[in-house]
Each structure stands twice: as C-alpha cells, then as structure tokens.
C-alpha cells in the first residue's frame, strides 16, 4: 500500500551515489559473497565429508562427536583456511565498498535526515535518550566487523545518521547476490508478517514492536500487512534510529522509533499485541537475552504473540552445520553466538513466563523468493519445510503467546 509521499524530502535510503567503479566494486562483493556462502561452502563441506571425516574415523575409530571436534580437525585444512579468509575479507570489503560514497555524502545524509525529521510528513516519531548506556556487548567489538559499529557518531551535535547509512547501504551489498529482499524491505519482516496473516487471519495486532530494529529494514514490512497498526522500533544506537526514522518519514511509513534497551524498556505492562525481532539475540549476552524475553512477557498483552527470528538452536541442527555457523562467533565479532544457540529455548522461554503449551516455533519460507502457493501451504501447516537456513530460503522463528 502506498501512503502519501512527500516528494520534497530527499530519502536518506537512496541519496548516496556510487561512481561507476564503486558500483562495480559493490557488485563484485555481492557476487563474491554468494560464491563464498553457497558454492565454496559446498566445496568445504564436500572436503569434510570425503576427506576429513573418513580420515578421523580411520585414525580414531569414530567420527568427530560434535561441532568442536569438527572444528579442531578442520582448522588447518587448506580449504578451511582459504574459505575463512575469503569469507572474512568479503565481510570487510562489504563495508569498504560503501565507505567512500557515504563519506562523500555525509553532509547530505545529515541534512536530509534533519529535514525529514523536521517535516515529519508520515507522523512517526523519534525519541532519543543520550544518557542511555550502550551495553558492553555492543560497544566492545565492531559487530559484523562494521567499522564504527551501530553507535559511533561523527557529528554528534547534528542529526548524525551516518552509521545507519553504513548499515543500510552495506547490507544491500551484503545480500545483493541472494534473493531475500524486495524493494529494500527486509526479508524477515516481510516473511513473518505475511505468514502471520495467513496462519492467524483473526489475529490483527494493533500495536507492534520490533526490537533491535537498527535502521528499520525489517520493521517497515509490518505496515504493509497491518497498515493500521501502531508500529514501534527500538534500538540502543542513535545513528541507526535517526536513519530509520528519516527513511520512514520520506517513504510515508508511520513508525515510532525510540532509543531504548530491550532489557528494560519504558513501555507499560500488557502493551503490545505483537513483539518481534530479527538477527538480534545472537549479539546479546545470554544474561541479556533472558532479561529481554522476560521484558517481552511483561509488555505483551494477554493473547499477544512474541515471535523472534534467529538462527535455530544447536540441538535442532547437525554437528557440521553447527561447526559452520560457529564461524561467526569466532571471526565475525559475534562472540555470544555459540552460547545463544546452545540455550535450551523451550526451558528458557518458560522461565521467562511463557507457558509450555503456548510456545511456537516456525520455519518460515522467505516470502519474496517462495512460490505463493507453497508459502500459503506452509503458513497453514499443510506442508513443512526443512531447508537449511544457509541459503536464506527459510527463517527460523520462535516465541509464544501470552
């Protein structure tokens, strides 16, 4: 659905321009990432299956017993060294490929953001809290190797939305070779909202919250499915919120962004019909994750749904896949990833207040790249999909009703 869009406001999400060579550098990185994550990942697995596992079995009389043992044997296989190098450098090159175009337009990004905020055509809002402490798990390392992370400010006295731009333009390069997204909308938000509409046609959430929303890519899609909902996005980092807000105003999306820690929000009890997040918990310490799930239970209305997207817990995937996913914990500056995936999800959700018989876990196909009939069949529970998360074809979601 299209709301009125103020054409006088420049959209921060489209104003950065790349030169011919910069554009092609970005395209190169997109293709490189696809090769690494799909083609070379298969080469690495084949090497494990046909060389490493048989060699270990012959020597020790048994297969490696878990992800850690697989890692031990893979660590100095040439294929693992080369694959890791490719993956690591491709990650850095993603951010580098957009750094110069963004740097050139830094002033324009700030000015356009401030203008969108002031004009406020969509009626959304931005509430910043400069006193909010940035948690250690965000500030210690540059998460995803993104230089400056989410929270760095370069012009703190102004409408500094630059790291939001870095994340927005960088993630476009990031997923440029994979079919996740439509129109710069996040694949997860689009998939979850369309899934819920089909599965629970009676469920019409009036107030929705997206936690750890960053620049809002996966917040926006909820308005496409639930246009009358009051939509909120929270994050601890101001620059990404400023960017999300400026973009939302320019695109006519009424979203309320606020700078808050999801562990302890200022929302009242029993407030939201739907709480969601995407790619969020693996960046938090396990202690913080537990606090957030409790907080979700507190601010959820009775009858409301909490449904988060994350990677599946390690007890739901095989040893090799766990070894493969643990890579991010070691090298992508996401040290909490492994501990998060080792959580007993059901038990921890119960400890957070959710009743055992009201827990939910869905594997939701990616909406934009799935045949609509197949998507609907999965949503209605007529068909189940067990594809790996790796190709981005299916999003693992979990949570529960209050």
């Amino acid at each position: 659905m299209d709301r009125e869009v103020d054409s006088n406001i420049q959209n921060v999400a489209t104003l950065v321009e790349s030169t011919h060579d910069e554009y092609n550098r970005q395209r190169f990185v997109s293709v490189l990432r696809k090769k690494v994550l799909v083609d070379f990942a298969k080469d690495m697995k084949d090497t494990y299956v046909h060389k490493v596992e048989p060699a270990v079995t012959a020597k020790e009389g048994r297969k490696p017993k878990d992800a850690r043992e697989i890692r031990k044997h893979m660590l100095h296989e040439p294929v693992y060294e080369a694959w890791s190098s490719l993956r690591y450098n491709a990650q850095l090159m993603t951010w580098w490929s957009v750094r110069e175009p963004i740097e050139r337009k830094a002033d324009a990004l700030i000015a356009a953001g401030a203008a969108a905020h002031a004009a406020n055509p969509a009626g959304g809002s931005l509430a910043l809290n400069p006193d909010l402490p940035i948690p250690d798990y965000v500030s210690t390392l540059d998460v995803h190797l993104m230089p400056g992370c989410f929270q760095t400010e370069f012009a703190p006295e102004a409408y500094d939305d630059i790291q939001g731009a870095m994340y927005h333009y960088g993630t476009q390069v990031f997923s440029g070779g994979l079919p996740h997204r439509i129109k710069g909308r996040g694949g997860v938000g689009t998939s979850i909202s369309n899934f819920l509409k089909l599965r629970y046609p009676e469920f019409k959430p009036q107030r929705i919250l997206d936690m750890g929303c960053t620049a809002g890519a996966n917040t926006f899609p909820y308005l496409d499915v639930y246009p009358d909902a009051e939509l909120h996005g929270i994050d601890v980092a101001a620059p990404v919120l400023r960017f999300g807000h400026a973009r939302a105003e320019a695109e006519g999306a009424r979203i309320h962004f606020s700078q808050q820690n999801a562990e302890t929000t200022n929302f009242p009890d029993n407030h939201f019909d739907l709480i969601s997040s995407s790619f969020f918990f693996h960046e938090l310490s396990v202690k913080a994750t537990k606090a957030v799930w409790k907080e979700c239970h507190r601010i959820l209305k009775p009858g409301g749904l909490m449904l988060h997207m994350e990677l599946p817990p390690s007890n739901m995937t095989d040893d090799y896949y766990n070894f493969y996913l643990d890579w991010d914990a070691f090298y992508n500056n996401e040290p909490h990833y492994a501990a998060f995936r080792n959580l007993d999800f059901a038990k921890t959700l119960e400890e957070s207040g959710f009743k055992k018989d009201k827990l939910e876990m869905f594997r939701i196909p990616n909406f934009a790249s799935t045949d609509p009939k197949e998507f609907a069949a999965v949503a209605k529970g007529e068909e189940t999909l067990r594809r790996d998360h790796g190709g981005g074809a299916v999003w693992f979601t979990f949570g529960g009703w209050k």
């Binding site: 011919h20 060579d21 092609n24 550098r25 395209r27 190169f28 990185v29 490189l32 100095h76 693992y80 060294e81 080369a82 890791s84 190098s85 490719l86 690591y88 450098n89 491709a90 850095l92 090159m93 951010w95 580098w96 750094r99 963004i102 740097e103 830094a106 002033d107 700030i110 000015a111 401030a114 905020h117 910043l128 809290n129 400069p130 210690t140 390392l141 540059d142 190797l145 993104m146 230089p147 400056g148 992370c149 760095t152 400010e153 370069f154 012009a155 703190p156 006295e157 102004a158 409408y159 630059i162 870095m166 101001a238 070691f330 090298y331 500056n333």
Partner: protein, 122 residues
Amino acid sequence: MSERRDVKLPIHSKGKRASFYRSEGTDQLFSIVMMLTQELSVAYDRIETLERVLDKKGILARREVESHRPGPEEETERTARRDAFIGRVFQIIHEEAESYAAEQPKEASRKAKGAKREKVSP
C-alpha cells in the same frame, strides 16, 4: 544546507584481526590478493562499459585504442589513479601501521577532543 563537516569514516573494525594461516604473512597476502581480484574485476567492468558505449555509438576504434599513448597531462591523471589503486590493494599494510600509530598518542588526543565528542542529541 551548506554546512561542511568533513566526516572521515574509519576503515578498521574494532577487535583483533582474524588469522587463519599458521605461517606469518599469509593472511595479509590473501587479503591483498582479494583486493586485487576486485580491482581487476572493476577494471574489466570499466573496459566493457567503454566498449559497449563506443559500440552503441558506432565508433568501434579498436586500432586507435591499441596505438594510443598518453600525453603529459593525461599521464599525471593516470599516475594519481594508479597511486590510489595501489593504496587500495595494499590497504592491509597501511591498516596495520595505522593501528600502531594510533595506539600511542590516542589517550592524549582523545582527552583533547573529549569535550567535543560528548553525545548531544538533536
């Protein structure tokens, strides 16, 4: 708005650089090769763009391209481009050097800048 701030974005990601190879220097070399591959791909893209544009305009001057020799002014321009190109390919070397250079005087400069970098929200 005419305000100019001259924002400089960091290249380095906070945290230890990952190492995958046991022999020293191989990680750096790998990184260099990747940057080089990217630049090569970009250069090819540029050539292809050029050829297509020329083709569209009906000026397929392949012999002229072959015999072209740059004059002094053009050579200056090319030198600057090659300079930036090499800098990009060997970025990792600069990055490491920069991180050492940044380590020592940082405390002092951070203190000096401290007041200015205080977060203020609009």
